[in-house]
């Protein structure tokens, strides 16, 4: 096993899934000849041809709607939306069609579709190449929402997403595409959907985070020698309720960290779950560290993404409470 980054891991996983299963079709803008603007689908066109690696016209609605039709009829499409910011033209298809087709047909049709899309800040992309829109999907029953935080999870979760018989929104933290390397097994393997990862055991404070913020949280905790329980949710819908409640009860001090805006960010749901189920264990307010409730300003990207400093000040706030 060699060390590879997340782009390499995803690319290899797609390649293996396509080699193994003829029903897998990759489609999206610039996924073919160009290999994807982040190169996640590089070389796939040459290997699998135009019928299976489809460069689509500029229509997110078309990509997701067509992929859903394929999925209803025997294929296993893996669609790419070039930036998560551009998924909204397909939002009606997501909310009103793909998340409800199994339900409304009484379970007689299903949509085994994976929608991969890079999200979050970190490429100096201003308002429209930086959004973290996970809340819009987490509020939508029928969807499964996943976000890996490292090259290993990226593979295991993508394989699980592919195996799932329901639509999956697979959010790739673009800031971590090339910044983190890890050993990733050559073969295909799965990581259970709905199960969080415990990244660090600790007793004094619980930090619940996911995706793009994981390395920042880990750096903060390690540099400052914090005795923290750190949880990487990995699946945002359905969230790992057991892991959340267990850590809250253990430390009594909880911080949530994500890049999406605070108001109705995923942190809100975590707080609410804890305030419903573990109130008596709480020793301090549940503090949310999040992106601000503003569009993602081009010039001040770094200020909008939660920094180690902001995380540390939240830790101090709950520890000193």
């Amino acid at each position: 096993m060699t060390q590879i980054n997340m782009v390499q891991s995803l690319n290899k996983s797609l390649d293996q899934l396509m080699a193994e299963d003829e029903r897998v079709i990759v489609l999206g803008e610039d996924v073919g000849r160009d290999g994807g603007v982040f190169r996640v689908t590089d070389t796939l066109l040459n290997k699998y041809g135009e019928e299976r690696v489809i460069d689509t016209p500029l229509s997110e609605l078309g990509i997701i709607g067509m992929a859903a039709g394929m999925a209803m009829h025997g294929l296993k499409p893996i669609a790419e939306i070039q930036f998560q910011d551009f998924i909204y033209p397909a939002f009606d298809q997501i909310v009103n069609n793909i998340s409800k087709i199994r339900y409304r047909t009484g379970g007689r049709y299903s949509i085994p579709l994976v929608i991969r899309t890079p999200y979050g800040g970190g490429v100096r992309g201003g308002l429209y190449h930086s959004q973290s829109g996970e809340s819009y999907f987490v509020h939508t029953a029928g969807l499964t929402v996943i976000t890996p935080s490292n090259p290993y999870d990226a593979k295991g979760l993508l394989v699980s997403a592919y195996k799932r018989n329901d639509p999956v929104i697979f959010l790739e933290p673009k800031r971590l595409y090339r910044s983190v390397k890890a050993e990733v097994p050559d073969g295909l393997f799965e990581i259970e959907i709905g199960k969080a990862a415990k990244l660090k055991e600790g007793d004094e404070v619980s930090i619940i985070t996911y995706g793009s913020m994981v390395p920042t949280v880990m750096n903060t905790v390690e540099k400052n020698g914090i005795n923290a329980d750190v949880i990487d949710l990995r699946t945002l819908l359905p969230m790992d309720i057991d892991a959340i409640i267990k850590t809250a009860k253990k430390t009594g001090r909880v911080i949530t960290v994500h890049e999406a805006p605070r108001t109705l960010g995923v942190g809100a749901e975590i707080s609410a779950l804890i305030a419903e189920r573990a109130l008596d264990s709480l020793l301090a307010p549940i503090v949310r560290v999040a992106g601000y409730d503003i569009p993602f300003s081009y010039s001040h990207e770094d200020l909008n993404i939660p920094s180690e400093k902001r995380i540390m000040s939240a830790i101090n706030r709950v520890l000193e409470y």
Binding site: P57, A68, Q93, N96, T105, G106
Partner: protein, 346 residues
């Protein structure tokens, strides 16, 4: 199309008497069913209905020319099409009544059918949203080299949706076998087609290099003729085709609608320009049937429908606890917890 002209062209000759009679029977069945449902809605037995009246002929023509392997992505106003492709009345009633036999477990409003066995995929309320799915299905057929094509129906209103635009472009770019049939019934609720768009609908294919054709959707023969030409094109693998069938919504938009607010009815049930009456007149004129036959078809339809509805009404309603199933292949802890919560609060 003028019937005499059709006769002269020898077109009607291509259609056997049996076929014509069978089409007529389906039309009468659909019309009778529609009236029955509207009455049931008024009595509070059925919750809602989008009447099918006036649009039977084009739908029956689609049904006649479609093949078993074709996938149909229809819209909510296609009762006659369902009947023509053989969906049993019982299953239709089960859905309209949301009883425990309903294949969809009572989850959708009446008229929002899904009959997988008949390759009727699934109807949603958001107008046009099935069209990109239809294109994906056609991609799948092509890729897996299966038999059949895709036929998608929709209203004139749907042509303004984003889904229409995306679907036609993709079908064209990948040269997929999709027959798009717009049932232009002149209205989108209260909006006349002339305000929906300033273009003739069959010409909208030009934006995607898709050929288009208009047929008189109130006339069985014109519909069959036009569809046949389009279907030959599509089945030959030449790509998608757009048919505009001009037709007329005889009733209100739905049982919640009051069309008096915005229009005076141009065609009414049973009048000389009612498409069913037109077919009746043609058959009588050609001596295919006699008036007593017509009467017996109508009586039989009524009897069959009354009987079936009585029977289906005895089926109990759906069990509420199923309401948490099928959100996912297996429920997550959230649905399980909520199911328990609901049961506890009973």
């Amino acid at each position: 199309m003028d019937y005499a002209e059709a006769l002269n062209m020898g077109i009607v000759g291509n259609l056997s008497n049996e076929q014509t009679i069978s089409a007529y029977k389906t039309a009468v069945l659909a019309r009778t069913l529609d009236i029955k449902i509207i009455n049931a809605q008024r009595q509070g037995i059925i919750g809602f209905h989008v009447p099918n009246q006036g649009q039977e002929m084009i739908q029956i023509a689609i049904g006649m020319l479609s093949e078993k392997d074709d996938f149909i992505f229809n819209y909510y106003r296609d009762l006659a099409l369902l009947l023509q492709r053989g969906v049993p009345l019982s299953l239709i009633f089960d859905q309209m009544l949301s009883n425990s036999n309903d294949l969809q477990k009572g989850r959708q409003m009446p008229d929002h059918f899904s009959f997988k066995e008949f390759n009727f995929t699934t109807v949603q309320s958001p107008v046009g949203a099935h069209l990109p799915l239809a294109v994906g299905a056609a991609y799948s057929i092509k890729y897996t080299k299966k038999k059949g094509i895709v036929i998608a129906t929709f209203g004139d209103g749907a042509t303004s949706t984003s889904d229409f635009h995306a679907a036609l472009n993709l079908a064209s770019v990948y040269n997929l076998s999709v027959l798009f049939v717009c049932e232009n019934n002149g209205w989108a609720i209260s909006l006349p087609s002339s305000k929906q768009t300033k273009a003739e609908i069959y010409k909208k294919g030009a934006a995607y290099n898709i050929p288009g054709k208009r047929v008189d959707g109130n006339d069985l023969i014109s519909s069959l003729l036009g569809l046949q030409e389009a279907l030959n094109y599509v089945r030959d693998g030449k790509g998608p085709y757009l048919v505009e069938a001009t037709t007329y919504r005889i009733g209100p938009h739905s049982t919640s609608d009051d069309p008096k607010k915005y229009r005076s009815d141009e065609i009414t049930d049973g009048s000389e320009n009612d498409p069913i009456r037109r077919l009746e007149n043609l058959m009588l004129k050609m001596g295919v049937v006699d008036p007593s036959f017509i009467q017996s078809v109508k009586a039989q339809a009524k009897e069959e429908i009354d009987k079936t509805m009585d029977e289906r009404m005895t089926i109990p309603p759906v069990d509420p606890s199923t309401m948490f199933d099928d959100v996912y292949e297996s429920p997550s802890w959230i649905q399980e917890e909520e199911r328990r919560e609901m049961n506890d609060s009973d």
